[in-house]
Symmetry: C2
Subunit: 401 residues, 2 copies
């Protein structure tokens, strides 16, 4: 019998009523599948546990992972109880009971190995395994957690390990949209897209799936479906590029207002200066995204502009201020009032003119482009955050989404 | 280096402030001991988890034990974090990480085996093990819980396994008292008592320790100390009888108002009739305590009176009512307005007159005795509940406690 994996996040498991909704969804699939249900902790619970740790300043340790992984233990017990009450043969399992072996990086552990035999063993006696998401165990026998989006990763990893037919990620939206429906009401649900498109969407602002789980699904060629736990309509399938018969030139427009722009002016334009700046960023674990370098008119000094994540704003500021004795810049400006707008599509690879259309559309709307970055299937531009809505709406329209 | 085990219950771990108090206690002991700290879940947390299970009617299962054992995971993580912050080398461990192997009886599992090697291994690198109480793992790899008073049992079992110097049970009272200080202000803390006395005290109403943990300590000849986590004064030591130099004739007076009296009147006094009644009780898991059987004046019919736990009141009533076609009694009376008063002391074994003094004292206070039961070191009487205070006070005085 084929196996299906389904994952439900913190808001879908917060309380007995919501868990009963999951029972309905599982009941429908269990007729012709073995099912693994991966659960997060109840949404409010995780916040409470995190607040204890914040009070103690405890993080990335055996201790913090023990505290953080206690919540899934409750939800899997309760869901399995509800399934049994419907005469569904179910067993709840924690990460270490499979085991899901990870490395030693507490709060951001990577999965190294999943023992498939144990799952097959349980499926001899049970039709549903209710598995705690987000957690694993390292070879020293300590509980680890997988970090943000960890339950998605658990679901994809276990589905890959047992070669599941499909991995369904249940959320509170009906799938992946051509853009954010909160900005553009005409946004439509994408029925099928490639891993690469989903990765670009996720890394440019769409919050549906964590990039890590998409990368893992791509590596294992596992079909993902993003769908709503409330409406039960078919969602968005994320598949190998080869399975897309007709590739959309642009399949979606995403945006992120979580960026900050850093401009360093009046530095001496000597070889290695930008390497020096970006080494500093790397040493301090600051991710740099778009980069623009201008040589000033005197031909001697240069300006460098790049974007960072807003959460690194203060760190970046202090690192660069402290380093002025080395860098010798004239001015340093950090600006949070920017947004990154991206258009994404597999068809871009074979089709020219996409960028041109983008720049023209923005120009027509008098939107200044502060920086540009591109990949084979994506073009991103940095603009003033006040133009976000009009940029998204006009691009969504011009590409006929 | 010698090892000491200390256990803290739900009210002693409810919140960061209370956990900080435990850090102080551990700091003092860690200078010249390896320490195992056994913790319960935060008091309010267990109630919340139990309420989920009650809502689902889930009990005695893999599921209920998963839910119920999630709370200790939080407290051990937080305490270990606080210990580390004081530069104490500490590691938090769950029951399965030792492992504490139990049988398969979910929510009332018995410990079968504790792996001492794993503890010794951890003590090579750590000075304190913070162990989750109440929980174990069965040989099928499922988490089990030990039932009421389970953390006391964990503490005593682990202390026995590693031959600890002592097992300290921290509570919110300063030790075991000669009687309940809420009734008799003159009640004094007992400095040393035998396992047998403690067992009789616990089973006759004193709520300080669970009988199961005392039995286990007695079996392993482990010194227990009951003491307060707030005042840090020396508490009550519970030791082998041989270590008591001077045995008190009566060391304590306990009482229980959780009893109910059952009187079955007008049954045919034929052989086997009481066996029939008590088989019925056993079949329904109803514990019977004191028993009095009277033959009525006609020499044919008899009355049987016995006591049960109040929690079994309704079950007992329905079982006996349904069985009247077999038992053929004339009347059935159940009465909750009774109390059991017990005097306990190792010296009783060698000293006569204890019972006589008890009965005389009660008679002088016009207190009617409804039933009597005795052991080598205990005499219990059943009286009307309204006489509880005067009975406890007058007995406490007459035995010079």
């Amino acid at each position: 019998m084929k196996t299906i994996v389904m994952k439900f996040g913190g808001t879908s498991v917060a309380g007995i009523q919501k868990l009963k909704n999951i029972v309905n969804i599982v009941s429908a699939e269990v007729k012709n599948h073995k099912v693994i249900v991966v659960l997060s902790a109840m949404a409010g619970e995780t916040n409470k546990l995190q607040s204890y740790l914040d009070e103690l300043g405890e993080q990335n340790s055996i201790e913090s992972d023990l505290v953080l992984t206690s919540g899934e233990q409750v939800t899997i017990g309760l869901l399995s109880s509800l399934l049994k009450a419907q005469d569904i043969k179910s067993i709840p399992l924690l990460g270490w009971q499979i085991p899901i072996i990870t490395d030693n990086n507490h709060e951001k552990a990577k999965i190294l190995k999943i023992d498939k035999k144990r799952i097959e063993f349980y499926f001899e006696n049970y039709d549903v395994i209710v598995l705690a998401g987000f957690q694993g165990i390292n070879i020293e026998g300590n509980i680890t957690s997988l970090g943000r989006g960890g339950s998605d990763t658990t679901a994809v990893a276990i589905a890959s390990a047992i070669k599941a037919e499909r991995c369904d990620i249940y959320t509170d939206v009906e799938g992946v949209y051509s853009t954010d429906p909160n900005i553009e009401k005409k946004a439509k649900k994408i029925s099928k897209m490639s891993y690469e498109e989903m990765l670009e969407m996720a890394s440019t602002g769409a919050k549906v799936l964590h990039t890590r789980s998409v990368e893992l699904a791509m590596k294992n060629n596992l079909t993902l479906q993003v769908l709503s736990s409330l409406t039960k309509k078919t969602g968005t399938f994320i598949v190998d590029e080869k399975e897309l018969i007709e590739k959309e030139i642009v399949s979606g427009v995403s945006y992120s207002d979580k960026e900050a722009k850093v401009t360093i002016s009046g530095i001496l334009d000597k070889p290695g200066i930008s390497a020096q700046i970006f080494s500093l960023m790397t040493e301090n674990n600051i991710n740099v995204d778009m980069i623009v370098q201008n040589i000033s008119q005197d031909g001697i000094s240069a300006n460098i502009t790049f974007t960072i994540n807003q959460k690194d704003y203060h760190l970046t500021k202090s690192v660069l201020e402290k380093s002025n004795n080395i860098l010798n810049y004239k001015s340093l400006i950090l600006d949070k009032n920017v947004a990154k707008i991206s258009v994404i599509g597999m068809g871009m690879m074979s089709q020219s003119g996409v960028a041109e259309k983008m720049f023209k559309t923005l120009a027509k709307n008098a939107i200044n482009i502060l920086a540009i970055s591109t990949s084979e299937i994506k073009i991103s531009v940095l603009i003033d955050v006040k133009h976000t809505n009009i940029a998204v709406k006009s691009l969504h329209e011009v590409y006929n989404l």
